[in-house]
């Protein structure tokens, strides 16, 4: 989905940088060039990263035992998130996996919500972004499984008894590979649908009354999709850390 006006792309163009607005049919961006960085979903990803880093830097000043407003906000959010991980993964794994999953949560939430503002787009409405996040989760949950169980990790895919291996192994492998599709395409599809619907309503129903209910719905979708991604990530990690039944 291409937006009518994207502020960052306009600024980049004013700076004389080439901004690709969608690649021609069948042509893949296979060589690293300046256009790889100025593609709208990449430039907005950089914006989200910058936003998170700047906000974190501004709101978290000097750490004190009696927190100020910014520190209090982050303590409440991060404390709640860590408790949630600890309940599902155990305190030790929660401590180790906290930075990765929380980064997904913050990045996806800000990226989803950003598309609700005119002149901005959600980077998560591009499959490359969601697939990138998903692949980290997919590779890392197998790495965790292998590190925890060693060779016995294969038991996660062989079913409850040896006689069922010919049946269970292909099913388990396919269902595991399907995680990549389900995690990435769910997020991408939902956010792209929200963006498309908003763009169409902006064009057809005017600036305010048409898109307003969809904007409210968009806020809900943004939170729900973040929650779903984080929850599934936690479930996959938990599954790979558990003993095979």
């Amino acid at each position: 989905m291409e937006h009518p006006i994207l502020f960052i792309s306009v600024i980049l163009q004013m700076l004389g940088l080439p901004v690709p607005h969608g690649l021609p049919e069948g042509m893949l961006n296979t060589t690293l060039s300046i256009e790889t960085f100025t593609t709208p979903h990449m430039s907005y990803t950089f914006f989200v990263m910058l936003f998170l880093i700047v906000v974190a830097k501004i709101t978290v000043g000097k750490m004190e035992m009696i927190p100020g407003a910014g520190q209090n906000f982050w303590e409440a959010i991060l404390g709640f998130i860590e408790n949630f991980y600890a309940e599902n993964l155990g305190a030790e794994h929660a401590r180790k996996l906290f930075p990765l999953i929380t980064t997904f949560a913050l990045y996806i939430l800000v990226a989803n919500l950003m598309g609700l503002m005119p002149g901005f787009m959600s980077p998560t409405s591009n499959l490359n972004i969601t697939l990138g996040c998903t692949l980290i989760v997919w590779v890392y949950h197998h790495y965790l499984g292998l590190r925890t169980h060693g060779v016995k990790y294969i038991n996660h895919f062989t079913g409850p008894m040896p006689v069922l291996i010919p049946l269970m192994l292909p099913i388990e492998l396919i269902s595991n590979l399907a995680r990549i599709l389900s995690l990435s395409i769910r997020l991408f599809g939902n956010i792209m649908a929200k963006e498309t619907l908003l763009a169409i309503l902006f064009l057809l129903a005017g600036a305010y009354f048409g898109p307003l209910p969809i904007l409210c719905l968009g806020v809900l979708v943004s939170f729900v999709q973040t929650m779903v991604f984080v929850l599934l990530t936690v479930i996959y990690f938990k599954g790979s850390l558990e003993h095979a039944h």
Binding site: G22, L23, N29, T30, T45, M49, T103, G132
Partner: protein
């Protein structure tokens, strides 16, 4: 059109970089302070527990001392009462003995006086009879 291109591996890199940066500037400091606060609260809770234990021990000590003192006071009181009772009884017996002696003396004195008076009067019976007869007859007998 949905295409997978170089921005996908770049996104992987972006997320990993973002994770490291946020971990350094946000997660680690906030989690450290949360852990510190938890530790402090736990140590305070231990202190409170110790104070409570101490207070309880003191209260128990106080109670036992109070009980000891009460027992001691009661024993002394009982002892004093018993000795007072004994002294009182002794004194009473002494007084009673004195009184009995005095009474016996008085009685014997009264008896001896009575005997003497009786003897004296008995000795004067004839004289009285004569006097009475004289008064009745109107002349000396």
């Amino acid at each position: 059109m949905i295409t997978i291109d170089l921005t996908m591996p770049m996104q992987i890199l972006n997320i990993l970089i973002l994770m490291m940066v946020l971990n350094a500037i946000l997660y680690r400091p906030v989690r450290n302070i949360l852990a510190q606060r938890k530790e402090k609260l736990e140590s305070l809770a231990t202190d409170v527990e110790n104070y409570k234990k101490n207070a309880q021990l003191r209260a128990e000590e106080f109670d036992s001392k109070m009980n000891d003192a009460r027992r001691k006071a009661k024993a002394e009181f009982d002892e004093a009462r018993a000795s007072a009772q004994a002294a009182g009884n002794e004194k009473l017996a002494e007084i009673r003995a004195e009184a009995d002696t005095a009474k016996a003396e008085q009685l014997s004195k009264v008896e001896s006086e009575f005997t003497a008076a009786q003897k004296e009067l008995t000795g004067k019976i004839d004289e009285f009879a004569k006097e009475m007869a004289g008064k009745i007859l109107g002349r000396a007998v």
